[in-house]
Amino acid sequence: MLSLLLRPLRNAALVLLANDSSRQIAAGVAIGMVLGLVPKGNLIAVALGVALFGLKVNRSAGLLSAAAFSWMGAATDGFTHNLGAKALAVDGMQSTYAWLYELPLGPWIGFNNTVVLGSLLLGLYASYPCYLAAKLLLDRFQTPIAAWLKRRRVTRWLLGADLTTRFGTPLGIGVGS
């Protein structure tokens, strides 16, 4: 139970302490941002979730980003609804939309919902800037922050003994081999 309660904090620590590169962490943040913005209950959200968990990106960073942007997503519904409505009303795309909708599993995709499509477009539009900004920040601050965190006893306690194997050498508490 305690482990379950501490998992978010542990994941937060893992964003910086995992052996992932800054690219992987930034990619996780970008994918999590899109996933957070898009309403759930459709194949787009499922695909984004699969991408987050299936691709070699920082999963913890993605989940934290998704959680944070879910709050923001609800606040941007008005904007994303208008954006999606405009996108779905483009004349030249109607036949494509209809074709897509008529495909098997087409109605399950959820792209015909104004907020789903609008938030997807917004997320995709913001994903690369988000990736670049996250990478820039990580390149500059990941190493010193990680070193500072590694020195904290609470960090070591959070990561737990099961992770000692992975972080044994840097932390100097690894098993002997």
């Binding site: 691709l55 070699k56 098997p104």
Partner: protein
Amino acid sequence: MKRLFGLAGVFRWGYLAPRLGVVLAGLCVIELGAGWVVKQAIRAAGEPAVGARINLAKSRATVLGSRIELAGLQVANPDAPMTNLVEADAIDLDLDGALLLRKRAVIKRGSVRGLRFGTARVASGELPDLCTSDDTLGATAPGARWAADAAGDKAKAWLENLGQRFTADPQEQFQAPQVARDLRDKWLGEYDQLEALADQIKADSKRLTDQVAEAKKNPLRNAEFLRGVPSEITALREKFRELYARADALPGLIEADRERVAAARRHDEQLLRESLAVSEIDTASLTAYLIGEEVAGPMNQLVGWLRWARRMAPAKIDAGQATRSRGVDVLFGDAKPPPNLLVKTLDLSGTARLAGRPVELSGVLTDFTPQPTRHDQPLRLALNATGALPLRVRATIDRTGATPRDELLADCQGIALPEMKLGGGRWLGLTVGAGPATLNVSLLLEGDTLSGDVQLVQQQVRVQPTRPANPSSRAAPLREALAGSLRRLPTIATRVDLGGTLDNPDFKLWSNLGPAVAQAMESAVRDAVNQQSERLLAASQQEVDKQLAGLTAEVTAARSKLQPLLGGLDESIEQVATQLTGGNPFSKLGRMPAGLLK
């Protein structure tokens, strides 16, 4: 190839592989558990809609095979929880698999076998937490205006009035017998008075005779008395003359009073005519009185079914765009979204009991959907019953246009109607014997406007007036005359015209039974009135004759008794005069004529 392997390095296969395995296992579970899901979905969606419990003995479904097989379906009747509204042995449904992936359940072809209706249940089908609704199955239309109600009341009042006229005894109000009785008493009293007066005169004359005889023994001493005797004799004679004159006038006065009896009799005849006069009845009112109650129940139930059907297939057209909690679902191409559930063709077969007779049912239900406004074809039901009771039913629920349209056509030949008791009132009830009948129903509900008619024709009928619990002897002739007239009625045709709206339906009732009964009643009442009048007047006349005969006899007897009395009086007075004069001293007074008192 190298590039492909490089791409493969992007994925965490160690993460994906077990999860793909879990997904495959999930699909297997879905395939195996689809039957249970279908069973729960049917109960969850069906029970609130029907308002009663739905039981399903067996349910098999395959997502890959796009097929559902159900067995032992029981839908309880919300109005009678211990019976099933409908029961089916087996239901097979072939789904369109491609459309399942498009979020739509379209049953291309299905069959329902072993349909039965109204079967008994082992356990109650009542839902414990169900809120009761006005729109329960076949519920009576709350605002139904039954045009027959007022007419039925009118006929009831007419019959009540008729019955009272035949049960009331107008003899109590007859004057002639009473006048005859009064006359008899009056004249007998008169003769008694005359007799008493004669006795008085006789006693006076005797007393005077005795006093004169006594006085004559000493005339000097009684000279004063003897001088007054002649005046007393004169007074006696005067009284006698008055008595004689009254006795002489009596026969003439009696004859005059007999005229009073005749006048009273004329009054009695007039009174009888007025008391038995019956106004003409409105045939429509009589029809409403006889059939109204019998027809009102089924008609209200029929409208209740229409209301239920309209609730099941709402008339309101859905908007082209479905809204969710977040955003709006935009649809492409079609003007309206397709229905989520559609049954294209469903073959029906089973058995039922109609009017107590077993029939084999077969039919086809096409284009059924709980969202009819989203479908471009109306729901159609074609149902045929074969066997003892041939029946054809065609129903259409059309939501394709701007105005919702529901139509029901039913044609049933050879219904065996059971014996029916009509009217049931205190004064007029009819028993219609069991017999074959044909039923035609044609109903159209366009928008909210109701129109159509229901016709029932019963052949080879035997109609008889019902014998009341306490039959009145006076009403017996009326009942017999009515029975005779109704024996000639070959068929009973009844038609109910529907109008108004679904919330305020309007029914108009017509039947040939009303006019036939009215005609029979008119004839029977006329005969009964004549018979009643003759009987009552004859009884009255008999009473009058009896009183008058008694009067004549008693007056004759009284006269016979009075006549010698008056003759004796004359002699008695003469004897006083003779005794006073000792010869014929008062001969100048004269005597009464000998035949005066005859």
